[in-house]
Symmetry: C2
Subunit: 351 residues, 2 copies
DNA sequence: CTGAAAGCGCTTACAG
DNA sequence: CTGAAAGCGCTTACAG
């Protein structure tokens, strides 16, 4: 049996194809009576409605928004912060009638979703603008919103006010009397180096913002923190190795670029018998759902992940409506003091 | 400036449109030299490659697979088990060159993603076959795989061997000497009723399988468990209310239909000063990542969520290749004993 | 209220 | 190795 299309139904009812099309897509363009007859015929013939692929071509609109996540979706989905972001975006887009397609990075089969999937726009989360997916999206001249990535001309950015929260975090440690402080970073290659001795250069504006926030109160207090970092964008073997080495001669407090990194430090510190927070204070970043559930609950810098998702969706929806590309105001961040921080103890620094 | 299409490039290079098409899609169909010239012209003109929407229509293939999640994606994404499933599916599909689109339930704007989004097939996770999304998918005659849902003729099912793990869980409690046991359920309306007094009917084959597993060892031991359940498919206010009422006169052990439900019981029991597991043993289901992190770590029934995702993807990929619709073998489940279960104490049942 | 015409941008056999 | 023809299934103005 041949496929049922508008034509099949048109012939069956004895009207033209566009009248059938109108029956589905523009009900006000034909009489109720005729429309009812057409719908009944469609039902009888097992027609499920206009073919979405054909409609997408004719209308120039697919109803689909792409989402490219750091690395592969596989990795990103192990991070509750990323998952929360996807959830918030999907929810906001759904309200506007759009569905979210997860764009995996190109595999070896030659498929490049960012280039090959039909979509109306895309949200790029925490990616370098040099990422091939980002490039492909740009070449297609699709509306794009960049989230927590390095700025790219013509692409609106949804960003955090990373500095404020980071500043509060560092100030908190200073207030507690810490002077031997380590900062655990991504996107910056540093192995147990004093901040004053290396260039604080990173391609990540997120990390740069946090660094600026952390350094301000420390510098004011005359503290030169130790830097532990990996050139990668996330926790990798190099970073964990360097964290281990740092713990050979532990600082009294650690500022980490994410809660996951903070927990990595916490676990390894505990494994060595260090008491948290008595012997080592730890502050994370994000307020990952897990932060409040670990023991001791993690002091961290909260960001509103739902607000971030909504802002990203709203910005893209604006672009889709033909509005100008404007980046929303950076979203606020705020220190949340829990139990992983305590006053520095008075033991001499390096006995 | 008009849009750049195959035609623009064809005219620019002085060849026909299909030769340009071949340059992109069938490189073996033209000389290397000509292909290079075409690709260069395309680059110059800012052509990003064949339009995916047009290609989808012409080829009859989109490269997109739909995923419909219990309720809205918004809810499902708060459940790590569902998230893990999505991750596994997305990963497996990516290897085959497919991207996953999250199909939200239809909103009030008239958009029904399951009906309106162009896709090649879909995976339906933990949904009633009466769900409108499921119906829409069926009407389109798309290849569908049903996961943890009620069976539907002609649709392959990816299911768990729920019975084996549940049986082990109940046997574990019997072995520990428990006799006053409660079962906390979804998809079955029960308020503190003895199992023997109500019909154990549920539309959920998942729940039915677990019930069968739990009841076998209990019946053999002459135990008539108390049933606490909600007609809904997940934890809702009605269920939590009934759990509270159950705890007014607590059993010595609880079997829950999910880890999330088990944690609900655990939290409420602790809030009342009940010690877990000394005064009340609790067993969950799923081995949610959180299960091992709570205190005390939850005894539960493990399922391999990655395997489930891979099985779902593999089954759909088979359908897409034109193979027959065959359901894979039910995936194994297995009791994991942790610290939320202990021997029944000897206090009289109802003092 | 209904329909003839043109078009969305590409691909699939097939012929040369 | 290259191209003329037909087609994928729908929608958008526009005319009547």
């Amino acid at each position: 049996m041949a496929r049922v299309t508008l034509k099949t139904i048109a012939e069956h009812v004895g009207v033209s194809r566009m009248t059938v099309s109108n029956a589905f897509s523009r009900p006000d363009q034909l009489s109720e009576d005729l429309r009812a007859r057409i719908l009944i015929a469609a039902e009888e013939l097992g027609y499920a409605g206009p073919d979405p692929a054909a409609r997408a071509l004719a209308r120039g609109r697919t109803g689909v928004i792409g989402m490219v996540l750091t690395n592969s979706a596989r990795d990103a989905f192990t991070d509750d912060v990323a998952v929360g972001f996807v959830r918030a975006v999907a929810g906001s887009l759904a309200d506007a009638g759009y569905s979210l397609v997860l764009l995996h990075s190109s595999g070896d089969d030659g498929v490049v979703p960012a280039r090959d999937i039909a979509m109306d726009g895309a949200i790029v989360y925490s990616c370098d603008p040099a990422t091939s997916a980002f490039t492909a999206l740009r070449e297609r001249r699709l509306p794009i919103v960049n989230v927590e990535g390095s700025p790219h001309p013509g692409v609106p950015d949804v960003a955090l006010d990373n500095t404020t929260g980071a500043r509060q975090a560092a100030q908190h440690l200073v207030d507690l009397g810490h002077t031997r402080i380590a900062i655990v970073l991504a996107a910056l290659d540093a192995d147990d180096a004093l901040a004053s001795t290396i260039p604080l250069e990173t391609p990540s504006t997120t990390i740069a913002g946090r660094m600026a926030g952390w350094m301000a109160p420390l510098e004011r207090a005359g503290i030169d923190p130790i830097l532990i970092g990996t050139p990668g964008l996330a926790i990798d073997d190099l970073l964990t190795e360097r964290i281990e080495r740092m713990l050979d001669d532990p600082p009294t407090a650690v500022l980490a670029f994410s809660d996951l990194a903070a927990l990595e430090v916490m676990e390894r510190a505990k494994a060595r018998g260090l008491r948290v927070p008595e012997q080592i204070s730890i502050i994370g970043f994000d307020d990952n759902p897990i932060a409040s559930r670990v023991s001791p609950p993690l002091t961290t810098v909260r960001q509103d992940i739902d607000a971030k998702g909504e802002a990203a969706a709203a910005t893209l929806l604006g672009l889709l409506r033909g509005e100008d590309a404007i980046s929303p105001h950076p979203l606020p961040t705020e220190l949340v003091v829990r139990a992983s921080t305590a006053p520095a103890d008075d033991r001499p620094a390096r006995p």
